[in-house]
Symmetry: C2
Subunit: 436 residues, 2 copies
């Protein structure tokens, strides 16, 4: 049974605190193993990649067959159902359109002292995209990770995807093709992350690695961080639905299950102001579970991590709870979702109103589906174009400009005991005729 | 002697590669010790903070004296030299002005399908600012870390600063006061990071921790990352000066030393197109070192990690080298710095022209002085207002909107084997009269 919490009960604060801090994932300690894999790839390059791929993916590769060529991509794409390809195209076009609005502008101005100031943005040079193999190999994630990089102007996007026992989802290759990715390697695991970070004879290193992966991939990304950039380490998926009694319980129940079906560690929470509605949703979940193909996973997630919280008044009481949960996905299935949204600070993405199920955002809405999990929406954002760009600030002084602001720099540098700092400014000031 | 590299010599590629990958810092393994400190603070709260502070800072505290009160801040500020306070005010005003331009705008629009899309930004709720004690206790860093948080609208900024043997730089408290920080604790090290991340009886936890620190602080920040956000882990400072022969060698030499004086692990590199100028700068460095107060540190940094690279043509040859070095600070002391800057992709901050020494950016220019080190300018940016905000995307469909884009979501969800995703959309579609 999912937990039932009542905001008006005496033990609510404690139980809600428990919900916030419950650990959902067993953390595997794979650090040592992964560090060894990375060291091997750094030392032996392609040969190590080939050995690890033989061992873990049961695939015999050579340096020449590490890469998946254009013919293989085309053949895979030709195998895909045309309707699915059309849906992929629609999704890609909408994702691109949304992300294009994130491209930042240059700032370049002279201030009142005549000092030129500004900031400009450039794309990361080369990005590696990790795509999991097996059942978690989602073409939608290829779009969500690759398209912001493309919109940012990243010149080289490299994809790695393991092909255990030779299996590879053709839609993943079709999605890569739609994103214009031409450099694809059939490798995975920590060895693929190491190859992207340090390079091998065949694979040139990248500057940043993004994309989801299992515990080995996550550990490898942590270990190579610094040598390259990484995206955040994603935890299991979460949804928080705030719903009043005017919703169809079957709809809300399916929304809760759409996160629960991802993973037994996923978490679905409902906040409502009506006990009878809460009961109706719980019953609808049980009904849906009778027919849902992934009922085993979804049911376990719902029983172990699901929760229903009842409050007196949604607008008054829900926002504070939402902010503490800081959910990855927040669905506001109420009459006036904007009023509620305006009171919420912490959420990765918000789905407004009764006709906006979270799943629409997983595929075709346009905003990114890579979002902060495990309460990290308190301090971080979903994947976006800025993750594939970096800002360089600039300053330009002429003699008048340094006369205006230089003396204060000299004073502060001296106060901090950094005389070369002070002198590097003072030398220009004395050339410009200012005493310091 | 600093390394001398000639871009036209046969061994240049190898030697430049060596410069790129030379390790400048001995990495201390403090992980286990720090994990123990964090566990103690989580278990025993204030009592652990007080014990660690007695042991390492030789200070006897109580829960009541952990906090530095307003009277102590005022008294410290009153001790400061008025000219220095005025310089601090000028710096603060300029930093605020520059950072205010970074505050992002809301996006909120309806697309061609009538789907409402957008993104809004909210400030991180509470931020902890670590300020080192002792000689690295810089008031300028208080401004650079705290003011972007204030501009972002962070409601609670908490400062921690150790006071070993009771020592505390009064200018640090004056800087905190100028930034409007009223919650300050006299604690440091891993224990202070743990208190900020997990909270104690006296200190409420924060959502994100920023600010420089020693190896213990850096290790603690890595360990609490995920529970809270952190800024990037800063490495030793770096400057790359690109200068033609028309510069005064004494100015360029002082600019190189202004980074070298930070730390024996700091790195200063000159790229020039004139051998005689290179010699003149090297000689000027040696002359400056005869009188510079921090000559021992600056001299060792210059000898161990400094380098002078000569190339044939600055505009043609320097940008590729700059991009590979991806320096924290890039000074372009040439006639037309914009032409060179336009060809550079990777740099934390650029200082344009002969009258813009890097030190002006450390204090008063306005852009942030917390910048990516150790070649991470390839994939990351300096500290800025967005580091204290997070983006929440939103989607709103009405029945017409979901009819327009829902069928593609159903198709993709089914292709990925996620039936609850498909059904959560399909339920709305059938209510809206669309077959799926």
């Amino acid at each position: 049974m999912p937990a039932r919490l009542d905001a008006t009960s005496a033990d609510f604060a404690d139980r809600f605190e428990g919900l916030l801090h419950a650990k959902r994932e067993a953390s595997e300690d794979v650090q040592t193993l992964v560090a060894g894999v990375i060291a091997e790839v750094r030392a032996r390059g392609d040969a190590a990649l080939i050995d690890f791929t033989a061992r873990w993916d049961r695939q015999t590769l050579t340096p020449a067959t590490l890469r998946i060529g254009a013919a293989e991509v085309d053949a895979a794409t030709a195998q895909c159902d045309p309707e699915t390809l059309a849906a992929l195209d629609l999704a890609a076009a909408r994702i691109e359109e949304f992300h294009r609005r994130q491209v930042p502008e240059v700032t370049d101005y002279r201030d009142a002292s005549g000092v030129r100031l500004g900031a400009r943005w450039t794309a990361v040079g080369a990005v590696g995209l990790y795509v999991p193999g097996g059942t978690a190999s989602y073409p939608s994630s290829v779009l969500m990770n690759a398209l912001p990089a493309k919109v940012a102007g990243v010149g080289r996007v490299v994809m790695v995807v393991p092909t255990p026992d030779g299996q590879l989802n053709p839609l993943v290759l079709a999605a890569a093709k739609r994103c214009g990715i031409t450099e694809i390697y059939r490798i995975g695991g920590a060895q693929a992350v190491a190859a992207l970070a340090y390079g091998t004879e065949t694979i040139r290193p990248v500057d940043k690695i993004v994309g989801p992966g299992n515990a080995f991939v996550a550990a490898a990304k942590r270990l190579v961080y610094g040598t390259v950039g990484i995206d955040s380490i994603a935890g299991p998926s979460e949804i928080l639905v705030v719903a009043d009694a005017k919703n169809d319980p079957a709809w809300i129940a399916m929304d809760l299950l759409s996160q629960a079906e991802h993973d037994t560690s996923a978490q679905s929470i409902l906040i409502t102001d009506d006990d009878a509605f809460a009961d109706a949703v719980a019953a609808a979940v049980d009904r849906h579970l009778e027919t849902l193909p992934r009922a085993a996973i979804a049911g376990q997630s719902w029983r172990d991590h699901g929760a229903i919280v009842t409050v007196r008044d949604l607008l008054a009481d829900a926002p504070a709870l939402v902010d503490r949960l800081a959910p990855e996905h927040l669905e506001l299935a109420v009459e006036d979702p904007d009023a509620l949204a305006a009171r919420v600070r912490n959420a990765g993405a918000i789905f407004l109103g009764r006709h906006t199920p979270e799943a629409i955002g997983d595929y075709v809405a346009g905003p990114n589906h890579v979002l902060p999990t495990a309460r990290s929406a308190r301090f971080s954002s979903g994947l976006n174009v800025l993750d594939f760009m970096k800002r360089t600030t600039f300053v330009g002084c002429d003699p008048a400009g340094i006369r205006a602001i230089g003396p204060a720099a000299v004073t502060l540098a001296r106060a901090e005991g950094l005389d070369a700092h002070a002198l590097s400014v003072a030398l220009r000031l004395s050339a410009a005729g200012t005493q310091t």
